[in-house]
């Protein structure tokens, strides 16, 4: 079993209203040292090796389902193998 963490975020130029609202809230709490917040989501996907390389599965499910390339991009990292 391998667990891969897939990170999905808005593309650079896409407006992130959540990040904006959270930044404002952090400032109103007095944390002026915080310069900005961007929000993303991640998926910890547990994959059974064997049939095909883990990378391939990750690529396929990201492109078919988890990511909308019109506005999002993704990256991933293998968390653990056991």
């Amino acid at each position: 079993m391998t667990t891969v963490r897939i990170y999905v975020t808005y593309k650079q130029s896409v407006f992130d209203p959540q990040g904006e609202a959270i930044t404002n809230s952090i400032h109103s709490l007095g944390h002026s040292e915080v310069k900005g917040v961007k929000v993303g989501k991640f998926f910890d996907v547990t994959i059974e090796e064997g049939t095909k390389p883990v990378e391939e599965t990750v690529k396929e499910i990201s492109e078919e389902l988890l990511v909308n390339f019109n506005m999002e991009t993704y990256s991933y990292k293998v968390l653990e193998e056991k």
């Binding site: 209203p17 959540q18 609202a21 959270i22 809230s25 109103s28 709490l29």
Partner: protein, 224 residues
């Protein structure tokens, strides 16, 4: 008895609460923007539904830092009626005035419909006009209404009789123990996902929520 209806940025059921109290019940009520910091002169405080701060972090999470919150906490500590519906309930849990939390609905979808509730506890200042065990219908309209508390907290809430309303036919959101509304331990803070203020006029097809507001007003009269 004077009611305050709090307007957080993004509240949108403020008018519903206001009109239910003012036009339908003839009560004395005023809007109070959450930028204000005082509730002097008010006897009860009502937190409306809506999407405070867009619900952008978690529903109700950002609203609890508004100026008015300390005054609401003071009201709660003073034993005055504090009521939150929908986003108001979410804010009350985020602020720690009520136990537990409200998660995303199990369906992952916003749901707006009328559901059946059982009045579990009519021995509160909010529900004295109802019968214990009575079934009533109230509208819900939320995406984050699944009540969650860890097992220990849940047991406490149940043992103390803090569960006031339970979904009785179907559970529309995945709430633990079908919980639709709870009070604090002292019983003067009520949070509920359903919208009694949407059910106070025959013209709109449902008056089952009216007695909740009448109960609060009765209680004030008895006290006075």
């Amino acid at each position: 008895m004077k009611f305050a209806v709090i307007q957080f940025p993004g509240s949108n059921c403020d008018i519903d609460l206001y009109e239910a109290l003012h036009t339908v019940c003839g009560a004395d009520v005023a809007y109070v923007p959450s930028k204000e910091s005082s509730l002097d002169g008010f006897d009860a405080v009502m937190l409306p539904g809506g999407f405070s701060y867009g619900d952008y972090l978690r529903a109700g999470a950002i609203a609890r830092f508004t100026n008015i919150m300390p005054a609401i906490v003071d009201m709660a500590n003073a034993g005055k009626p504090v009521f939150g519906t929908c986003n108001g309930f979410q804010i009350l849990t985020e602020a720690g005035l009520l136990p537990g939390a409200l998660k995303r609905n199990d369906s992952l979808k916003f749901v707006c419909k009328t559901v059946e509730l059982e009045v579990e506890n009519n021995n509160t200042i909010f529900t004295s006009e109802y019968q214990k065990g009575e079934k009533i219908n109230l509208p819900i309209a939320h995406a984050d209404g699944s009540f969650y508390a860890d097992p220990e907290t849940l047991k406490q809430i149940e043992d103390n009789g803090q569960v006031v309303f339970r979904y009785s036919k179907e559970n529309p959101n995945g709430s633990l123990n079908n919980i639709a509304g709870i009070t604090n331990e002292r019983g003067n803070v009520l949070g509920m996902m359903p919208h009694p203020e949407r059910a106070v006029e025959a013209l709109l097809g449902n008056t089952d929520g009216l007695r909740l507001f009448k109960s609060i007003l009765d209680h004030a009269e008895v006290k006075a």
